[in-house]
């Protein structure tokens, strides 16, 4: 399974999250009782990978803040930006790990 597949098919298998990565993003956390332990924005159930996917599809930070608000969810733009950056760095880490394993 490629790192891209591992990250964007949130299933039973949770790819390794380096603790250093989690520590460097204050808005991101994990909890086994929330969305099977997948990284999410603190005090919400919003997965970082969902934010990444939404941004890749062309949703802007401002439109996402508005859409979440319409669902009664308070998320600030900093948290959404962190979610995007966290996913990128996580993907980068998994890619590197995969490369090292194959070589």
């Amino acid at each position: 399974m490629t790192s891209l597949n591992a990250l964007f098919n949130e299933g039973e298998h949770l790819p390794l999250i380096p603790s250093k990565l989690l520590r460097s993003f204050s808005f991101i956390s994990t909890d086994p009782k929330i969305r099977s332990g997948w990284p999410h924005i603190k005090n919400t159930r919003v997965l970082v990978t969902d934010i990444f996917r939404a941004q890749v599809r062309g949703n802007t930070i401002e439109s996402m803040v508005k859409d979440f608000k319409s669902m009664g969810i308070k998320i600030n733009s900093e948290a959404l930006e962190e979610a995007y950056k966290f996913t990128l760095e996580w993907l980068h880490y998994l890619n590197e790990k995969e490369k090292n394993n194959t070589s």
Partner: protein, 135 residues
């Protein structure tokens, strides 16, 4: 003593998880079912999976989520249905959700059921252990 107000549920009432894609579902399927954000039901955001199941069961809302693992392990006392969506592309799964809503159009049709939406729709009855598929 004050009588507790009960809301009649003809069409299914669902509580959807904290995902942007459910806004599109709400827009597209509003005529078939009522969708309420889990935040509005729990009156707080970031609730854990077990608490959501318990509260939605108390308030009689079926659950729709992308979490295909934890929500399928449900206690026998829980009456509500759980719809787990395994597909990530909303253009794929919203069409299948419409199909499901046409097949199971009443609120009571979802009781004691675990429904998994993937390339096909699998309906598992937790009481009878019967499995049905909608292709």
């Amino acid at each position: 003593m004050k009588k507790k107000k009960t809301i009649l549920r003809n069409k299914p009432f669902f509580s959807h998880d904290e995902n942007l894609e459910f806004l599109k579902l709400k827009k597209d399927c509003n005529q078939f079912a009522r969708f309420e954000s889990v935040v509005k039901i729990m009156k707080r955001q970031g609730a854990t999976d077990p608490k959501i199941v318990k509260e939605c069961n108390n308030k009689d809302y079926h659950v729709i989520t992308h979490n295909t693992t934890d929500f399928q392990r449900i206690n026998k006392k829980i009456k509500i249905g759980v719809v787990c969506i395994g597909l990530r592309n909303e253009d794929d799964w919203i069409g299948r959700m419409k199909k499901l809503l046409r097949k199971l159009s009443k609120h009571k049709d979802y009781y004691y059921k675990n429904i998994l939406i993937n390339n096909d729709i699998t309906i598992y009855n937790r009481l009878t252990k019967e499995v049905n598929k909608i292709l």
